[in-house]
Amino acid sequence: MRILEGHPRLKAFLFPPMNAAFLIRASAVALFSALFFGFVLRPFVVRGESMDPTYRDGTFHFLLRPYYLFSAPERGDVVAVRLAGERVLLLKRVVALAGQEVSFRGGTLFVDGVAQEEPYVKGPCDWDLPPRRVEAGKVYVVGDNRSVPMEQHDFGQVSVHRLVGRPLW
């Protein structure tokens, strides 16, 4: 403590007096943090290889939750998909919107019959999926890691109501 003797303001900052004002300030900071990191910028850790290499297993990110309150999902967006709740989410990329036709031929994604450039897909892919049209109120999502067999990869159309935000980075 002797090192702080000549710095009363620093000492007061690091070791504030436990009075009512301090407790109110600390409570306000705790409440703001709980609301901000619970409802606006939720921290999450990636588990799994579905979005590899864009989002690697074990990496830490923040989910911008209110994003889709103000804008509709667009093709190329990485989105978090809610399951029964929000403790476990699926992280996928939107590849087609409602009304569009999706298919895979020889590992290449086709949207409305047009082959898509997907620079985020790094591994080899040999998927074949017959064309299907995305229903109204839904988007078609796929992970970036297409080097796993198609049967082992979770993808498909999902209701936009299940999208709970997008990663901040």
């Binding site: 588990r47 799994g48 998909v81 399951l83 029964a84 709740g85 929000e86 403790r87 476990v88 699926l90 996928k92 999926l129 299907r132 999502v141 979770d154 993808f155 498909g156 159309q157 999902v158 299940r162």
Partner: protein, 165 residues
């Protein structure tokens, strides 16, 4: 002295309250305990012999009704399974896995007019095979539990198709 007595009285009231809360769970908590117990029974943390595996599989089967309706397109399962079927599946799964875990998240329970419990949850299955390959699966499930012989058992398990190909 008075403060110490008040503190002791407050602790006693809290302890009695907690004891009553624990000893007399609500129906929803009884159902949630079934999920927790199933999760615990399904846990495997290392190699185990055939007898232990069979006992674990038998225990898992007791969480299910004698006739349980299962709809799980991801596993090509649709129809009614018996406790023997559940036991067989559980044994086969334990035989393949060196370690495995089953966790439930975001569990919500509501009760139907006939007293059945309808539960929704996210289930995460994780494990490592004997060959060292690891897997991880996540599903949304909807279950119906009924009370039989004083215990809540799974009468229906449906995997919800969140992503439709």
């Amino acid at each position: 002295m008075v403060t110490a007595r008040r503190l002791a009285a407050a602790c006693a009231v809290l302890a009695v309250g907690w004891g009553l809360w624990y000893a007399f769970p609500t129906r929803a908590r009884q159902v949630k305990r079934v999920f927790k117990a199933l999760s615990s029974a399904a846990e495997k943390d290392g190699p185990e012999g055939a007898v232990v595996m069979a006992a674990a599989a038998r225990k898992i089967s007791t969480f299910f009704a004698p006739e349980c309706r299962v709809e799980a397109e991801a596993y090509r399962l649709s129809g009614t399974v018996s406790r023997e079927d559940v036991m067989r599946y559980a044994f086969a799964a334990r035989e393949r896995a060196r370690v495995s875990s089953l966790r439930f998240y975001d569990l919500r329970v509501v009760f139907g007019p006939e007293g059945d419990a309808v539960a929704e949850a996210t289930v995460r299955l994780e494990g490592t095979s004997e060959a060292g390959d690891s897997w991880r699966e996540v599903h949304e499930i909807r279950c119906v539990l009924r009370k039989a012989d004083g215990e809540w058992v799974f009468a229906e398990v449906v995997l919800v198709d969140v992503l439709e190909r």
